[in-house]
């Protein structure tokens, strides 16, 4: 910042940052502080009286089996990992296919990019419509052609599979954009040199292209985990509502449900704090990495 020419004014810079700072304080810092504060209290839902309970809310989450928080953690991890690996593998594969001189490549790119515009919630609706046991075309096919009864509101595995497919489907174009940009920055002469040396396309990809892509891959890995953990609330809310039972109640869904529906303020706040720690962890990993790459 120091190599910039600086204007001289005492008041103006404060006026300029004021709108941003007001919103940051009112809608970010204050509520976050509230969440931390409330996580140590138990609120009586009728009188609104606060009772200090120390770290009881946290202990309850992890050690009281009725809170099913550990299960929620487990399903979130499975879900996030499944979405991340499925959508990243598919996107990388597709980006490799497009990244060559070929007819229609502009058309292909557009066709693969547009789903980015689809809201996560709408992705849920699209997949729900295909797999709805009563009207879904795919559900019908599964039942009448393959003899598989699709009942994602009753079958735990099917529910998890459905939200995983919907969430991955939506994320393909995001990953695709980054992988394609990454592939385009791989120097062509390097790949050609390897080809002249007799390396086949598969070997060229794994020994030259893929290692050069690793910054993109790592960035996407973190972003996809963040997506899987935090941004998939709309799909769960729309498609399974956390069910059957609580089997697809991922962390962000649970924090919403316990707070908004069950009005358990203390428990929900404690969950918020845990989620905050998770996001901070992921962000730190990300920036550590970017820093390293700058030096490299």
């Amino acid at each position: 910042m120091s190599n910039q020419y600086e204007f001289k004014s005492r008041l103006l810079p404060y006026l300029l940052v004021l709108p941003q700072m007001v919103i940051v304080v009112v809608f970010f810092f204050w509520p976050s502080a509230q969440a931390i504060w409330q996580s140590f209290f138990l609120q009586d839902p009728f009188g609104g009286r606060l009772i200090f309970v120390g770290i009881d809310n946290y202990l309850k989450l992890f050690f009281d089996p009725s809170s099913s928080y550990v299960d929620s953690f487990q399903v979130s991890i499975i879900f996030a990992l499944a979405v991340t690996s499925l959508s990243m593998c598919l996107s990388l594969f597709l980006a490799v296919q497009v990244n060559r001189k070929m007819k229609l490549s502009t058309f292909y790119k557009t066709m693969l990019i547009w789903p980015y515009a689809v809201a996560t919630m709408v992705a849920g609706v699209l997949w729900l419509f295909m797999f709805n046991p009563n009207v879904g075309v795919i559900a019908w096919l599964l039942k009448h052609q393959l003899g598989i009864e699709w009942q994602h509101l009753l079958n735990t595995n099917q529910a998890l599979l459905l939200i995983t497919m919907a969430a991955s489907w939506k994320q393909i174009s995001y990953n695709f954009v980054f992988f394609l940009a990454g592939l385009q920055s791989v120097p062509a002469d390097l790949v050609e040199a390897a080809a002249i040396d007799g390396a086949g396309p598969v070997r060229r990809f794994w020994t030259i292209v893929f290692p050069l892509l690793s910054p993109t891959t790592f960035y996407l890995l973190v972003m996809n985990l963040v997506y899987g953990f935090f941004e998939t609330f709309p799909i769960v809310h729309q498609v399974t509502a956390g069910g059957p039972g609580k089997s697809t109640s991922i962390l962000v869904y649970k924090v919403w449900r316990d707070g908004v529906i069950n009005l358990d303020l203390g428990g929900s706040s404690a969950q918020s704090v845990i989620l905050m720690i998770l996001v901070i962890g992921l962000t730190v990993i990300q920036f550590r990495f970017i820093e390293r790459r700058v030096n490299y």
Partner: protein, 281 residues
């Protein structure tokens, strides 16, 4: 490239067409359903070609909406548009101002401000649902556009992007404009803004889509039909358990909800891609 055999040239096309099919098929079904009657959709399997009820269904969706919803698609599209435009322009505006202050001024709280904005990256709505809801309700902003927009207009990514961009502008330009007698505000308005057009366009595409596709926040704070965004409307139409879902109306509304963001992505594809991938740097 190095390979010449016909098969090798053909297979990528095959894979890509399969992928496009998987991406487009759900959309096609939505379109087909939106041109059929409720009866035809319920008579599984539903037909896979469009029917003759296009105009009728869309007219019903746009003018009245689902019978039990009490909100028309037109009104909900308007709400979504106000929210998306409010969030995207708001973010760009206040981020430009903040980045301008941080890069071109030296003031005491400069790094404090920068880091405060940066930290918001780590506090998405999902992790502070209840207390933020309480703030909005204390401020009397439930069921209001300002409640939908204001908490969303802070953007660490936009401040970053503009800061990064401003830092590449040669300091001589600011110096020269001041020698010519321009104030800092004039410099911002006449020199800096015109130069920043490309990053602003890129940011707009990304933030418009972000704003349009907001779900959890409107779900929390809109309880009146007149403030439903289109996504909330779709959710409400599908959640009526006892009533028979009017699939043709729901699907017409779903398609309508997809058009504005898809339009922005396709028309501004170049800005969109540069805006996304620049963020990483």
């Amino acid at each position: 490239m190095t390979e010449h055999s016909l098969l090798r040239r053909f297979t990528p096309h095959l894979y890509l067409w399969i992928a496009i099919f998987i991406l487009v098929f759900p959309l096609w079904l939505v379109f087909v359903a939106s041109t059929r009657t409720s009866m035809e959709i319920l008579a599984a399997p539903m037909p896979l070609t469009p029917g003759p009820h296009f105009l009728e269904n869309y007219k019903a969706a746009i003018m009245q909406g689902n019978k039990n919803l009490g909100a028309s698609a037109l009104m909900m599209l308007k709400n979504s548009l106000i929210m998306a435009l409010g969030i995207s322009t708001g973010k760009i505006l206040i981020s430009l101002l903040a980045a301008f202050a941080i890069v071109f001024f030296n003031f005491k709280l400069r790094s404090f401000c920068f880091w405060s904005i940066f930290v918001t990256l780590m506090l998405p709505v999902e992790v502070r649902i209840m207390p933020t809801y309480k703030v909005i309700s204390d401020l009397g902003m439930l069921n209001s556009y300002s409640g939908l927009i204001l908490p969303m207009v802070v953007s660490a990514t936009a401040v970053f992007l503009f800061r990064q961009y401003f830092m590449t502008i040669p300091r001589e330009m600011a110096e020269a404009s001041q020698i010519d007698g321009a104030s800092s505000v004039q410099f911002f308005w006449h020199v800096l803004l015109p130069m920043t057009r490309t990053p602003i366009a890129a940011m707009f595409v990304i933030q418009f889509i972000y704003g349009w596709n907001q779900y959890l926040w409107p779900l929390l704070i809109t309880t009146k039909q007149s403030f439903y965004t289109i996504l909330i409307g779709i959710n409400r139409m599908l959640s009526g358990a006892d009533v028979v879902i009017e699939w043709q109306i729901v699907m017409a509304t779903t398609l309508l909800a997809m058009i504005p963001p898809a339009f922005v992505v396709i028309v501004m594809q170049k800005q969109f891609i540069s805006g996304m991938t620049d963020r990483e740097k």
